[in-house]
């Protein structure tokens, strides 16, 4: 049990090459599913132990920090690990039928391999307590996601993947520069150790620049407006399962890393009092929310519409960070989770639609509320979550965000957040009207409900958005613990 932190990463890592060896698609999928479902179990155990006993530190290979690489698990990253691995597992369970339509069978085992590697990379970035290790795992997840995105049926998937590759690599290189500068000023790569040593060198220009480079690099990876250019195409043209997986996990992990850097490495005092990070993040987040939501309203391709919505939702997460308060961070962290569920579920529902229609265009979705009632009902629930209607998880995020704004007397910000959710109403309603109150096109009248193997995982994820809209002690409760520890208010 004490090796649990490293097992969580190594198990899917080792499973990946085995998938290549097994080759036979059905066997590969079965094997991968067993492996991938073990991850949320391990992550849940970790979270439970962290909540009970406090932070777990694991020196890899027995080489203690700061010489060796340390895995450090606290409430925050255990929570992120849990939901990233759970969604990864849920989407992979959904994948077999979905990719059968979209990816040639000769590539299925490679797809699964890449998928496992991508998840490994994301989890590796999350769990590690070592800066350079973040970079290495970031590249594992990035390279595999470029490949996964390029598998889309449309040739634009290729240009989308390439654009993401260029911007992603630039982002990663910026991060590498930032890490280098920090290393130069402290002599360590271990995050906890660095936080200690950075106290002696605050106000040093090199550290400021390091901070800037890390932030810009991460902003690129998390698609913070205006560095989001790679995201809409990548989400719109990737295979359905890939979009669902990446939308649910990838940007969230980047937000997590930003949280880790800002609060655990640099510290609130440096980031906010010295640098005034809030003065940069707050307007960026708000402008991003409004611009991206508005652009979303005008999209015909619904996957692309949801992609722009993702850019806006990243804005909410960053907005929460910019408050630098317990409620603000709780909002950010819980929204990472809630949005992962909602967007994952929505893209899975889009996959069901693409499975039957072969298209995700708004025009083709006429009357789909009748022909695919279950899929569309799930989609609507997910959409309501994006608006932030009560009973859905999205409401909880919004609640904490507004509370955080009000307690700092930021009336305007609170008002803007609320008004922006009405933009979400507009783009969701647009789809609802077409789906329910228009007749299906001639050729689409005989379209039937998606198969159970797609519907069940989608239903579970969307169901979870309702569950976590009511039972919040497992989401907002844990997020609060994490937020308090980030601000140094506990443990």
């Amino acid at each position: 049990m004490e090796h649990l932190p490293v097992l969580l990463i190594v198990v899917p890592l080792m499973a990946a090459p085995l998938c290549v060896l097994i080759r036979q698609p059905t066997l590969v999928m079965g094997f991968a599913l067993v492996v991938i479902w073990s991850c949320p179990l391990m992550a849940a155990t970790l979270l439970q132990r962290v909540l009970a006993d406090g932070t777990i530190s694991y020196a890899i290979g027995g080489w203690p920090a700061p010489y060796g690489i340390e895995y450090r698990v606290d409430a925050l990253n255990a929570f992120v690990l849990l939901f990233v691995s759970s969604l990864g597992a849920a989407v992979l369970s959904y994948a077999p039928r979905s990719i059968a339509r979209e990816i040639p069978q000769s590539k299925h085992h490679l797809f699964v391999t890449s998928y496992l590697l991508c998840l490994t990379g994301l989890m590796g970035m999350t769990i590690t307590g070592d800066l350079f290790n973040v970079f290495v795992f970031l590249e594992i997840s990035s390279l595999s996601s470029y490949a996964l995105i390029s598998l889309g049926r449309h040739r634009r998937a290729l240009t989308a993947a390439f654009q993401y590759l260029i911007l992603g690599t630039v982002g990663a290189t910026f991060i590498l520069i930032g890490i280098g500068l920090l290393y130069q000023m402290t002599g360590t790569l271990n995050m906890a150790d660095m936080a200690e040593r950075l106290r002696d060198v605050t106000g040093v220009r090199t550290v400021l620049v390091a901070f800037a480079f890390l932030s810009v690099g991460l902003a690129l990876k998390m698609a913070l407006f205006p560095l989001h250019l790679w995201l809409p195409d990548a989400y719109a043209f990737a295979p359905s399962a890939v979009t669902a997986f990446i939308a649910a996990t990838s940007t969230k992990v980047s937000v997590y890393v930003l949280l880790r850097f800002v609060f655990s490495v640099f510290g609130v005092g440096f980031a906010f009092d010295t640098l005034g990070l809030d003065r940069i993040l707050l307007p960026l987040a708000l402008v991003g929310i409004f611009v991206a939501s508005t652009v979303a309203i005008f999209q015909q391709n619904i996957k692309r519409m949801l992609a722009y919505s993702s850019v806006a939702q990243v804005g909410y997460m960053v907005l929460g960070i910019s408050f630098a308060s317990v409620n603000g961070l709780t909002a950010s962290i819980v929204h990472m989770f809630n949005h992962a569920l909602m967007k994952g579920g929505l893209f899975m529902a889009m996959g069901c639609i693409a499975f039957r229609l072969g298209s995700v265009d708004l025009d083709r979705m006429r009357g789909i509320g009748r022909t695919m009632p279950v899929t569309m009902a799930l989609w609507v629930v997910g959409g309501l979550g994006l608006i932030g209607i009560p009973v859905t998880a999205g409401f909880i995020s919004k609640w904490y965000l507004i509370m955080a704004a009000l307690e700092q007397d930021r009336w305007v910000v609170a008002a803007l957040v609320l008004v922006s959710s009405l933009l979400a109403l507009v783009y969701i309603l647009r789809v609802v009207e077409v789906a329910y109150f228009q007749e299906p096109a001639e050729g689409d009248a005989h379209v039937t409900e998606a198969p159970m193997s797609l519907l069940v995982p989608t239903g579970l994820v969307i169901g979870a958005t309702l569950f976590f809209g009511l039972q919040t002690s497992w989401s907002a409760g844990v997020a609060r613990v994490a937020a308090e520890s980030l601000l140094g208010l506990s443990r």
């Binding site: 290979g61 690489i69 339509r101 590796g124 390279l143 490949a147 500068l181 002599g187 090199t206």
Partner: protein
């Protein structure tokens, strides 16, 4: 100093170059020069790797790609001012960042003093492999090395995913496996 100037000159030439083939060759040279500079920085392992990987492997890969795609490059229509501004700002930020850096070769730079005992001393005491770099690579940061191997593996899988069966695709019989072609 000469080497650095050469490096800079090569980089600028590559940036201005229209012929892709020549640019690729020059990139190889750039890597070689870089490797030379690395040697001067007391990093022979890195220098050898850079020479082999940067100048060798990547040049070969690029040439192979060029063979498949053609080596002409079109000049770009729009003005270079925006990218130039972005680069200048980034560069200025970095230069600003160097202002508080320890000078080149300063034995009292933080990384030379911390952690103490140094990797060199610890390696000598704990591992006993003469090449400290190899030793650290295999021990203290062995996990990064595992990650690095994984990156290569990932890239391999990615390339396979991208290029496997592409000739079939060209002929247009790359139908999805379950046979139903959605409209």
């Amino acid at each position: 100093m000469l080497l650095l100037t050469l490096l800079a000159a090569t980089a600028v030439t590559i940036a201005r170059m229209r012929s892709l083939l020549a640019a690729v060759m020059l990139t190889g040279i750039y890597s070689f020069l870089g490797a030379g500079w690395m040697l001067l920085l007391d990093a022979p392992d890195v220098a050898f790797t850079e020479a082999a990987v940067g100048a060798g492997v990547s040049t070969v890969l690029m040439l192979a790609t060029l063979a498949l795609t053609g080596s002409d490059m079109k000049p770009r229509g729009h003005s270079p001012w925006l990218p130039l501004a972005a680069v200048l700002v980034t560069g200025a930020a970095l230069v600003y960042g160097t202002m508080d850096m320890p000078a080149f070769g300063d034995p009292n730079a933080p990384i030379q003093l911390y952690p103490s005992p140094s990797y060199v001393d610890k390696t000598e005491a704990e591992i006993g492999v003469p090449n400290v770099i190899t030793a650290v690579l295999g021990s203290y940061r062995g996990y990064d090395t595992l990650g690095e191997t994984t990156v290569i593996f990932t890239a391999g899988i990615a390339v396979l995913l991208l290029l496997r069966g592409r000739h079939r695709r060209v002929r247009g019989d790359d139908t999805p496996s379950d046979g139903e072609t959605p409209r």
